[in-house]
């Protein structure tokens, strides 16, 4: 009880610092999470902003423009290369479609071509529009060859039954990444940074060589001291977990309440809290003073987050890094998080993958806490 009381007193003394650190790291995590919202999605049907320059001014080119207007946000422009480049640079439009002079003649004679696509480097939207226009022009040509006029040909093509696309709403969010996914993605950073700081600050006091000597010489057993320490750390972790979950509800409100995998998110986050506790405890065993706490916390939390897919999604990471990341617990947290983000219905293969990931997290927690206890005992024996 005395050891517990000591921890509580020290926590109380450091409460201002803890709140400041919590606010800073939570602010960073929430901001990073929000900035990533919607950037990573699997599939969504979109209309592009397109600038069209019709140099041909023919019946055929007009039908092409009509088609584009039907499927995209189109602005007609005059042929001014520098003005068009500027609009592309500032992403006013994603694509410039230039129908060249002689387009109708070339198309109807079967020569093909006559449309130029200009877009920013690294953009692939042009391919999508090009495919749409190629299909339109080919179909119109077939109707034209069969004896229909240009406008009749377009009408025939337009009336063709559209191939039905059935988009399965696998993630329950129309292919879009839900807002709270970003929060949970950055959750390990928040937990690692805050818990390492809090536990480091508390452990520094208790791991002071001379205080430790006094504690070891006392009639409170080492086992009892360790059990109390673990209990206190778990309590701190649970409080932090509860506060962060409430924060998530406050930020994402109804969306999170109705999230299809809410309980899985809760469980996964709880596991990462346990892992962060174990890492923080292990780190705390090597910290000698309060200055070292702040020096060590940042690189450790950042290293884990960079390697394990917190800052860069796992699918974009090089294979070599992913292989290394498999030996780190946060990787499994992010893997489970990705699966939860992509699937609303957790069953069968997906469920077993998620449970395997959570099992790995639990295993890492047990290994880390065992290592910490072994190090603590070794340090105690070596004095």
């Amino acid at each position: 009880m005395t050891v517990f009381k000591g921890y509580m007193l020290l926590a109380k003394r450091n409460i201002k610092g803890i709140i400041v650190y919590f606010t800073i790291f939570t602010g960073i995590a929430v901001a990073m999470g929000m900035s990533r919202n919607g950037k990573f999605s699997s599939f969504t049907a979109t209309k592009l902003n397109i600038a069209v320059v019709d140099c041909d001014r023919s019946e055929c080119s007009e039908e092409v423009v009509r088609f584009l207007k039907k499927n995209h946000h189109v602005t007609e422009a005059s042929y001014d290369p520098s003005a068009l480049q500027e609009r592309l640079y500032y992403e006013d439009v994603k694509l410039v479609v230039c129908i060249q002079k002689g387009f109708e003649k070339d198309t109807l004679s079967g020569k093909g071509g006559g449309i130029e696509y200009t877009q920013n480097p690294g953009e692939y939207n042009g391919m999508y529009v090009e495919a749409q226009l190629n299909r339109l022009v080919q179909n119109m040509k077939q109707y034209y060859d069969a004896g229909y006029s240009v406008s009749e040909s377009y009408d025939k093509v337009a009336k063709q039954p559209q191939s039905k696309v059935h988009m399965e709403n696998i993630n329950g969010n129309g292919g879009q990444e839900a807002g709270y996914v970003g929060f949970f993605r950055f959750y390990p950073y928040l937990m690692l940074a805050v818990l390492c700081t809090i536990l480091g600050t508390l452990l520094v006091e208790f791991r002071n060589k001379n205080v430790k000597m006094r504690l070891n010489a006392s009639s409170v057993s080492l086992f009892s001291q360790n059990i109390t320490s673990i209990f206190v750390f778990l309590m701190i972790g649970c409080i932090l977990y509860a506060v962060t979950m409430l924060l998530a509800f406050a930020i994402h409100g109804r969306k999170l309440v109705t999230a299809p995998n809410l309980w899985y998110y809760f469980l996964n986050s709880f596991l990462v809290m346990l892992i962060s506790l174990a890492i923080s405890f292990l780190v705390g065993l090597f910290v000698k003073n309060r200055q070292q706490v702040s020096i060590i916390v940042t690189p450790i939390s950042l290293a884990f987050c960079f390697l394990c897919g917190v800052f860069v999604p796992i699918q974009y990471m090089p294979d070599g890094i992913v292989h290394i990341a498999r030996f780190l617990p946060i990787y499994w947290f992010e893997t489970v998080n990705d699966l939860l983000a992509k699937h609303a219905d957790i069953s069968g293969h997906i469920q077993s993958q998620i449970l395997r990931g959570m099992g790995m997290e639990l295993l890492f927690f047990i290994v880390l806490i065992s290592c910490s206890m072994a190090v603590a005992k070794y340090q105690q024996q070596e004095g």
Binding site: V3, R13, N14, N210, M213, R214, A217, S218, G383
Partner: protein, 345 residues
Amino acid sequence: MLVSEIQAGSAKRTKYTGKWNKRPKYHNIMEGMSANMIKIENLVKRYGNLVALDHLDLEIAKGEIFGLLGPNGCGKTTAIGCILALLRYDKGEITICSEKMTPESYDLKRKIGIVPQEVAVFDQLTVQENIDYFCGLYLPDRKKRKEYVEDAITFVGLNDYKKMYPKQLSGGLLRRLNIACGIAHKPEIIFMDEPTVAVDPQSRNHILEGIRKLNQTGATIIYTSHYMEEVEQICTQIAILDHGQCIAKGTKEELKQMIRTGEKITVEEAALSDQQLEHIRQMEQVYAVDYQEQVLLVRFDGTDHNIVKLLQYLQEQTICFGRVYSELPTLNDVFLEITGKSLRD
């Protein structure tokens, strides 16, 4: 030394009449037991190739202020670490109150208080909170603890500093806090590892006086220091350690009787010829003469009329001289004669 002798010795001192006398009568526990509170047999502790404790044997009786004296690095702190089962040792046996001391001897540990060499307190807790915390490691009863904490604060004279943090205290006051944290639970055995290092004379006197008071209330105190004056001043039994071995043990009088030096006389600014020095060497009871930069140091193996005889000779020879003073042997002389080096080296 028998317990009765120690108690008789203690009785000569002025009794401390403060609240601290309300400490539990621990000595009843010892009735019928061996008089040895602590017994160390054949203790060996190595740090790699360095032998820190070399077959150390010690017996500490109940009620003693037992001084462990020796130069820095002689093994004093290591010995305490082993006794308290804080360090694993390679060989030997340690018994406290006739029970083998192990890291799991929590009942024994309850009887022990420790005042480490360095100040061991929480920087972020106040004076009162620190004492309460460390007392609570031994005494779960909150009500009783509150009373004990107040006693400890009064005992070390920190009443005006209760709400202050350690960083706000001076070196001397910090040492007092360190002591209060170690003794608040009123232990039977108190280990004090150089508690007066880097302390001003006023605080040192306060601390030494406090140690005497603790002893008067029945506590056995094991006091380590490399300050021989302190050890001479307060310890009833002294063991001198060097290279992890106990090279001498006894009361200060017994230790001084072990050596040849009975008296040292120093004569300053004396211009002496070789012949005169030889005459001095031939004087009765003189066994060593040292003459450097006109300072004459004569060692006598007896204490009878040496100064008179020496001054008489100097007057006869019409030798001019400055200050003359006589010193009785110190523990440093004991150490010097046994090991050939000074305690301060």
